[in-house]
């Protein structure tokens, strides 16, 4: 078990190293910090000072080491666009994106899993056919189109929900702000969260349905049925556990897509999260932020997948022996 963990950990480190290297090359050699951070009439002394501060005069390996060292200390450089430390920009926006992602995931699981189960157990019911048709739309429709339509119907026409910003937020601790404690926070959160969850709902529903159908055909379910195990236990204990375990891994792999959806959703709803920050940085060619984003995505993806691989043995008893 420990050997397995060490192995995967090592592989993850190698991947992260490559990504970090790429990000370093981008941030160090693409774009000119001197031109971006200093006003046009800056003196030579100012230029020299900045050059020394940013280690621009050192050799590549040295600069890479500084890059890693700084990163580990939370120093991700200075944004070309706003002249602030990148880390500050990120931290302000992190809660917004995390809350949005969390709420949308909860919605997706709460709707996707039960509907998938129902569609698997009662495939011919009208409800199931509706679900399956809906799932095709959910998987097919572009994210921003869904957002636009939701805004038109629920915000412009019905006026139930907000389509702009986060609403009122409450500060918790030193830097976290939450929109979950205010009414206007929820009013602003619902539409973007639903937009983001739509694809996930469809995806989870289809996965759960396919997996559960396969499980229901298995010998052990047949045997349980032959022993007179009651239907409710058959479906929700015997079958469900076998269904959900593989579904977990697949959801982990979808993480990249979810992060991408966050960018689009945040733009459609003017949600002040990291996704919209990323877009602004791209449009302004703000290399430090872009390269941090590059590393961050790779990091999240690798860590989540590593975590899933390590958790899997705990959930599926077959894996350890």
């Amino acid at each position: 078990m420990i050997r397995l963990a060490a192995n995967r950990f090592g592989q993850t480190l190698i991947v992260l190293f490559v990504i970090a290297l790429l990000a370093f090359v981008l941030s160090a050699y693409v774009g000119d910090p001197l031109t971006s951070l200093l006003p046009l009439d800056a003196s030579q002394a100012q230029r020299d000072a900045l050059t020394s501060q940013l280690n621009l005069d050192k050799s590549m390996p040295e600069r890479f080491l500084y890059f890693i060292w700084d990163a580990l200390h939370g120093d991700f450089g200075i944004s070309f666009r706003t002249n602030e430390p990148v880390i500050d920009l990120l931290l302000v926006r992190l809660p917004a994106t995390l809350e949005l992602a969390f709420v949308s995931l909860v919605i997706a699981l709460a709707i996707g899993i039960p509907t998938g189960i129902h569609a698997a157990l009662y495939p011919r019911s009208l409800l199931s056919q509706t679900f399956m048709f809906g799932s095709i739309l959910g998987v097919t429709l572009p994210n921003f189109v869904v957002g636009i339509f939701l805004i038109l119907v629920f915000s412009v026409n019905l006026g139930w929900f907000n389509s702009f910003g986060r609403g009122e937020t409450v500060q918790i601790g030193s830097w976290w702000t939450t929109g979950l404690l205010t009414k206007s926070g929820w009013q602003s959160m619902i539409l973007p969260a639903v937009t983001m969850s739509l694809f996930q709902i469809a995806f989870i529903m289809r996965m759960v349905r396919a997996q559960m159908q396969e499980v229901m055909q298995s010998d052990y379910i047949r045997f349980a049925r032959a022993r007179g195990v009651r239907q409710r236990s058959l479906h929700y204990v015997h079958a469900l556990k076998n269904t959900l375990i593989p579904v977990i891994t697949i959801i982990g792999l979808q993480l990249g897509n979810i992060i991408a959806f966050a960018v689009v959703t945040e733009v459609v709803f003017s949600w002040p999260g990291m996704g919209s920050l990323f877009l602004q940085s791209v449009l302004a060619a703000d290399m430090p932020v872009i390269s941090v984003y590059l590393v961050m995505i790779g990091l999240i993806y690798s860590l989540v997948n590593l975590a899933i691989e390590l958790i899997y043995p705990l959930v599926d008893p077959r894996v350890l022996t």
């Binding site: 052990y220 022993r227 007179g228 195990v229 375990i245 008893p317 077959r318």
Partner: protein, 338 residues
């Protein structure tokens, strides 16, 4: 042993619901006496497993019972709803399936699977249920039964898993157990152990057993009576000794003759020419007639019914023991493929 009937199957037809329907089982008539071991023998695809599935109402669509009736203790069970069957399966009819490697739920502990079955049907509390589970594991010969409760199926060998399966099939104290090829998937050395375990449990509990297999050797050891199944029909039925030593149906004769034992001269291997037809290609009249050397026009036209006495019945227009090897295809040893 009481001599009354526990199970009656009358004119059972199991069909695939297409147009026109294909009959996997046709006109099956069987009665099972309480406390006996009835063997069902036939080759793969003959329909013997279907009989077992039909009794427990476990047929998977498109297969379904299209005609006939099944009565357990004089009560019809083929017309029960799924909900009603939940109270029959496990506690009145038990089943043992063929493959122990896939019969057990891999993510539930052995203890969970046992105690759930016990408590669902016998209405015992948690402590008693657990104790009963331990008792059963001991009974089927597993060492350290208390520890075994918290283990998962993959931690056991094939033979041990099949013992657990047997415990699961019997723990709710059914009156009838259907064992569908219980030893086929096991190593030869383990097969004997499992069979003797079954025999012992049968002796202890008096449970009625329907033993389905393609291996005549198993039935010769275990069964009181044997029914020979060919292409969806019962072609011969009677006491085991009668079937083995005084077979009347040409198919049964061929079957017995093809069993190789240590005394068989190496030079002769026996095989009935031709092969059993699929349900969709079943010939008219007697299903065996194209392969039979006693065949007459009558065999082509009419389906023979089971005739004879309580000890021995045959479905054939020309029943009778034969001497010699008529209809035999001798395969010389040097031509035989290994």
């Amino acid at each position: 042993m009481m001599n009354d009937t526990i199970l009656t199957i009358k004119n059972l037809h199991v069909s695939i619901s297409v147009d026109p329907p294909i009959h996997a089982l046709e006109g099956i008539d069987l009665t099972v006496q309480r406390g006996e071991i009835l063997g069902l023998i036939g080759e793969s695809g003959a329909g013997k497993s279907l009989i077992g599935s039909a009794i427990a109402n476990l047929l998977v669509s498109p297969l379904q019972i299209s005609q006939g009736s099944i009565e357990l203790d004089s009560q019809r069970i083929d017309t029960l709803t799924e909900r009603q069957m939940e109270r029959v399966r496990g506690t009145r009819i038990g089943m043992i399936f063929q493959d122990p490697m896939t019969s057990l739920n891999p993510v539930l502990t052995v203890g969970h699977q046992l105690t759930e079955t016990i408590r669902t049907h016998l209405k015992l509390g948690r402590v008693e249920g657990r104790a009963r589970a331990v008792e059963w594991l001991k009974r089927v010969g597993l060492p350290a039964p208390e520890d075994m409760l918290s283990r998962y199926p993959h931690e056991f060998s094939g033979g041990m898993r099949q013992r657990i399966v047997i415990a699961l099939a019997l723990c709710a104290e059914p009156d009838l157990v259907i064992a569908d090829e219980p030893t086929t998937a096991l190593d030869v050395s383990v097969q004997a152990q499992i069979l003797s375990l079954l025999r012992e449990l049968h002796r202890e509990t008096g449970v009625t057993v329907i033993l389905i297999t393609h291996d005549m050797g198993v039935l010769a050891q275990m069964a009181d009576r044997v029914a020979v199944i060919y292409s969806g029909h019962v072609v011969e039925l009677g006491r085991t000794s009668e079937i083995v030593e005084h077979s009347q149906h040409p198919y049964t004769i061929g079957l017995m003759r093809s069993i190789v034992d240590i005394d068989t001269p190496v030079a002769t291997l026996f095989q009935i020419e031709g092969s059993m037809p699929r349900p969709s290609d079943r010939p008219s009249g007697c299903a065996f007639h194209p392969r039979c050397h006693r065949m007459t026009q009558r065999c082509h036209n009419d389906v023979p019914a089971l005739e004879g006495n309580t000890l021995h019945r045959t479905a054939c227009w020309h029943p009778g023991q034969t001497s010699g090897t008529e209809g035999a295809l001798k395969i010389e040893a040097k031509d035989a493929a290994c």
